[in-house]
Subunit: 203 residues, 2 copies
């Protein structure tokens, strides 16, 4: 490694989440979101209305080496919408190495970073262009789009972090729901299905 | 750690490098830049003209824990100017743990990220608002302001990276200078004082 590090990554990042120079990307579709929203009937109705292939969020990212000092840099673009009264969300995760932190810097749109600790703290941090959240390790986190346009964030986190996506599912969903409150507002409400998080192996 | 991670950091980041919610900051002044520029006479003249207290760049940052998965997030605001025909620069560094990577995302202004490997590769990556560079580990790097206004970048890097600032000084400066080329342009020129980098202890 010391004699031949990779070339610097040159990225052009649009406020719409476009990322020229990205090394990879993935797309999540409505059909991938089974079990994520509390209102199963509203989710089934959305599938009927929009089809399972409807894009719900996209991720562009740049990574090079998997060295323990390496980073992954990217953008997340979460389309607007509601399933029942729940706003559109990403699946959410705890890092597989739970002490890994992450930056989310909002580039455009309006949303919330929903954050929860395994022992019951819950925070909903509003984000709009220019606002950022520094997610420390040991916080489960998910993006929520509370607006009418795409909610776009730039993210940066250690390349060896990994994602534990099952934790939320096993807990019956995150402890808090971000739901509509009046025609343009949002609020949080406890999720009665949430049964507490298991504690993953410490890292 | 697993039972009481710190609160998420809530940051409001201005295009001018302001950062509400920062946990710290520092200021570099003209008097701190002794030995950084090649033209010692031009530097002495700038000191006489502007005084040693003149601000040349400022850094705002947010850090919480020093866990090995932690990050430092901040902004760097490098004021415009030239010393002789060299554009304004930050001191530059290799990470003390050399394999630590870093993101620089330009928020405003116009500049260059100058990057060099210990074995002689050199890259000058132009940056303006929306452009970013993913600096892999093992690259010495420095910001250069090639414009007329402040050159502002958002950065994110592992909290345990550290900075080796002496490496560049011991090498007689970075291998490449970023200098004026016509009334509004810039170009690179080899630094004849550069004698090669020592190889720091591998990490």
């Amino acid at each position: 490694m010391t004699t031949s590090p990779p070339e610097p990554g040159r990225l052009t990042i649009g406020l719409d989440g476009s990322m020229a120079g990205a090394s990879g990307n993935y797309i999540k579709r409505l059909g991938d979101m089974s079990g994520v929203y509390r209102d199963a009937q509203a989710y089934a109705q959305a599938l009927t209305e929009h089809g399972e292939d409807r894009v719900v969020y996209t991720v562009q990212e740049h990574r090079n080496v998997t060295d323990d000092g390496a980073l992954i840099i990217g953008t997340s673009t979460l389309l607007p919408g509601k399933i029942g009264d729940e706003f559109a969300v990403t699946r959410g995760h705890l890092h597989a190495r739970p002490n890994r932190a992450e930056l989310y810097h909002c580039l455009s749109g309006t949303g919330v970073m929903l954050l929860e600790t395994l022992d019951g703290r819950s925070r909903a941090v509003p984000l709009t262009a220019g606002e950022a959240v520094h997610v420390p390790g040991h916080w489960v986190h998910r993006s929520v789009n509370t607006g009418d346009e795409s909610f776009v964030t730039l993210f940066c986190y250690p390349a060896d972090a990994g994602q534990d996506y099952e934790l939320i599912q096993q807990a019956g969903g995150m402890a808090t729901l971000v739901v509509a409150d009046g025609p343009d507002g949002w609020t949080t409400r406890p999720n009665p299905d949430h049964g507490g998080y298991r504690h993953p192996a410490a890292t």
